[in-house]
């Protein structure tokens, strides 16, 4: 269908791309916003990891973790250095049966911590943000990439169709009719947060450039992806010597890498060929103190401790890509910025949710007149994609605290049960929204409120870390933050439910 004017065609694009992909965009923004505090949610979901980072941390404390991987005969082991936000030594290795496992170790004693039986935020919520956890054919990445492109198109078309962008710059009139107030809020969240929305979508795409534009690498490097890695990021590879040897002190290796970097600490040590005479270790400089997600790598000989290779990405394209990626990853240590990103992420959620709501509200009468059955389905999908995903996320957290350690059911392990609950509950919210079309928003808001309070109480009951205690201890602040956010969400959701119910009543009286 050809539209007569540019603005009208942009309007068409904005409306229909928004409706079709709005639900997915909300899911991506919601999970992305939560990922800003993924490590804090991890602490909440993994009580054994609520530790304080020792002030005199020695890298040698990582040796037990390395030896556990050696005993498992893994060809390589990735050791994550503990940080303030993630105060445990995390080791990832592939077992002989091919399974990939993650283990946590105490940063003081080096002793292994009991398995927490959860994927937590960093292995469920965060991957959901960029891949929807759809692994088949990498489909998730492509859908998220498409959503990122559409988000940019929506930002541009939204500005084009907004008639009075400067006159309405600060206009939000909650006292007006719900349709007008929704559009006001959509405009305020969209226009005032525009720089963030655009930058976050663009940078999201730039991070995965090699997936979306593989041709740029193929054209120059043909099929040799490793050569691209070597030239762009300075990778180093060598085969095992098939001779046993012990690994040199971790502190020695880190000192060697630091002598190249000048300043900064490593964020991970990647040991290749553990126990072999040709073992080598890749150390990556942490980007805690810079915006850019730098890839400043040093390779150290695992047996002699000599420097094998060190690289600093100096090619302008690689440096630019790492800076843009850094903008998105927020791996830097900056609490103000972390909270600002969280706030702006929520503004993005509000933007998408109000966009969906406005579409539904402005067409409600017409749909009713025409008796469109599809409209009811779309309305149900909208409820499920906004309040539904929040309920599912809360159910995920409640399950985490309600299940006893080591629980299993129907052949599923504890972590898998949590994931199943998340998806089942999400599906249930959709069924509920379809069945109770008129009142779904109100009852789902109440459900959010009840689940959020249940999560806080279950956390206090199962771990003893209630809000008073968590606020008093610095090491429990991440838990305090999550609990506080849960309480705030409960209050906001209850208030929204009350207001919606009251408004529904006055509307009904006005109609009678």
């Amino acid at each position: 269908m050809m539209e007569p004017t540019f603005r009208a065609s942009m309007n068409w694009l904005h409306t229909w791309f928004g409706v079709v992909l709005g639900s997915l965009l909300f899911a991506i923004f919601w999970m992305g916003t939560l990922s800003v505090f993924d490590k804090e949610i991890d602490r909440w979901m993994m009580p054994a990891s609520r530790l304080a980072l020792p002030a005199d941390f020695s890298y040698e404390a990582m040796r037990p973790a390395y030896q556990a991987a050696l005993a498992a005969k893994s060809p390589s082991v990735l050791l994550l250095v503990p940080t303030e936000r993630n105060p445990v030594i995390t080791a990832l290795w592939r077992a002989t049966d091919g399974s990939f496992a993650q283990h946590m170790f105490d940063p003081r004693s080096g002793a292994e911590l009991p398995d927490q039986g959860t994927l937590g935020a960093s292995r469920f919520i965060y991957p959901f943000h960029y891949s929807l956890n759809l692994k088949v054919l990498g489909l998730g990445y492509w859908i998220v990439g498409l959503c990122g492109m559409v988000m940019m198109a929506l930002c541009v078309s939204g500005v084009v169709i907004h008639r009075k962008i400067f006159a309405d710059f600060f206009t939000f009139r909650p006292e007006r009719k719900i349709r007008r107030a929704t559009l006001d809020l959509h405009n305020v969240a969209g226009v005032l947060g525009l720089p963030f929305h655009v930058v976050i979508s663009v940078s999201g795409l730039v991070i995965l450039f090699s997936l979306y534009f593989p041709s740029s690498i193929w054209a120059v490097y043909r099929q040799d992806i490793r050569l691209f890695g070597r030239e762009a990021y300075g990778s180093y590879v060598r085969p095992p010597a098939k001779q046993a040897a012990d690994l040199v002190s971790f502190d020695t290796m880190v000192a060697k890498a630091k002598s190249v970097w000048g300043q900064g600490e490593p964020n991970y040590l990647y040991v290749f060929h553990p126990g072999d005479a040709a073992a080598y270790v890749q150390l990556n400089r942490s980007s805690e103190d810079v915006v850019s997600n730098i890839s400043y790598v040093a390779y150290v000989d695992g047996v002699t401790g000599n420097l094998l290779s060190a690289s600093k990405p100096e090619k302008p394209a690689a440096v630019t890509q790492r800076f843009i990626a850094g903008l998105h990853f927020i791996q830097f240590k900056h609490w103000t910025l972390r909270w600002l990103y969280f706030g702006l992420g929520l503004a993005g959620c509000v933007l998408i949710a109000t966009g969906l709501l406005f579409w539904e509200e402005s067409r409600r009468e017409r749909h009713r007149r025409l008796g469109l059955a599809g409209a009811r389905v779309v309305a149900a999908v909208m409820v499920a994609s906004v309040t539904g995903i929040m309920i599912a996320t809360l159910a995920f957290m409640v399950t985490n605290r309600a299940l006893p350690p080591g629980a299993s059911a129907a052949g599923l392990e504890r972590g898998a049960i949590e994931v199943v609950v998340f998806h089942l509950i999400w599906l249930l919210t959709l069924a509920h929204a379809w069945a109770f079309a008129g009142r779904a928003w109100i009852s789902q808001c109440w459900t959010i409120s009840v689940l959020a309070i249940a999560a806080v109480m279950l956390n206090a009951a199962t771990t003893g870390d209630h809000l008073v205690r968590t606020i008093a201890h610095r090491r429990l602040w991440p838990v305090a933050g999550v609990d506080a956010m849960l309480v705030i969400s409960a209050v906001v959701a209850a208030w929204t439910a009350l207001r919606l119910a009251r408004r529904g009543q006055t509307d009904a009286e006005a109609g009678a």
Binding site: F170, L192, L337, G343
Partner: protein, 92 residues
């Protein structure tokens, strides 16, 4: 903190200088032309001054990033406050 206050003040001045908003806050009020221009320039100066402070305290890249994020957040905060203001001013 200072930067946040300056941004809030700057946006508030810019917002209040808009005849539409001014009319909402002070019912049927009217802003004279020169006052409006003064409010707008002072608002803009405050916004830019916040950038200067942040860059000096936080360094170039972090300062600019914090400023860009605060710019959005403070503007949204001002918009939300403006939404509730008429209730209080009309009651008084």
């Amino acid at each position: 903190m200072t930067a946040m206050l300056m941004l809030l003040a700057g946006w508030s001045l810019l917002a209040a200088s808009q005849p539409k908003q001014f009319g909402r806050i002070i019912s049927h009020g009217h802003v004279p032309g020169p006052v409006r221009i003064a409010m707008r320039s002072l608002g803009a100066v405050l916004l830019l001054a916040a950038l200067v402070i942040l860059v000096r305290v936080e360094g170039g890249s972090f300062g600019a990033l914090v400023w860009a994020c605060l710019l959005s957040i403070s503007a949204i905060a001002v918009a939300l406050v403006l939404a509730w203001l008429p209730r209080f001013t009309s009651r008084a």
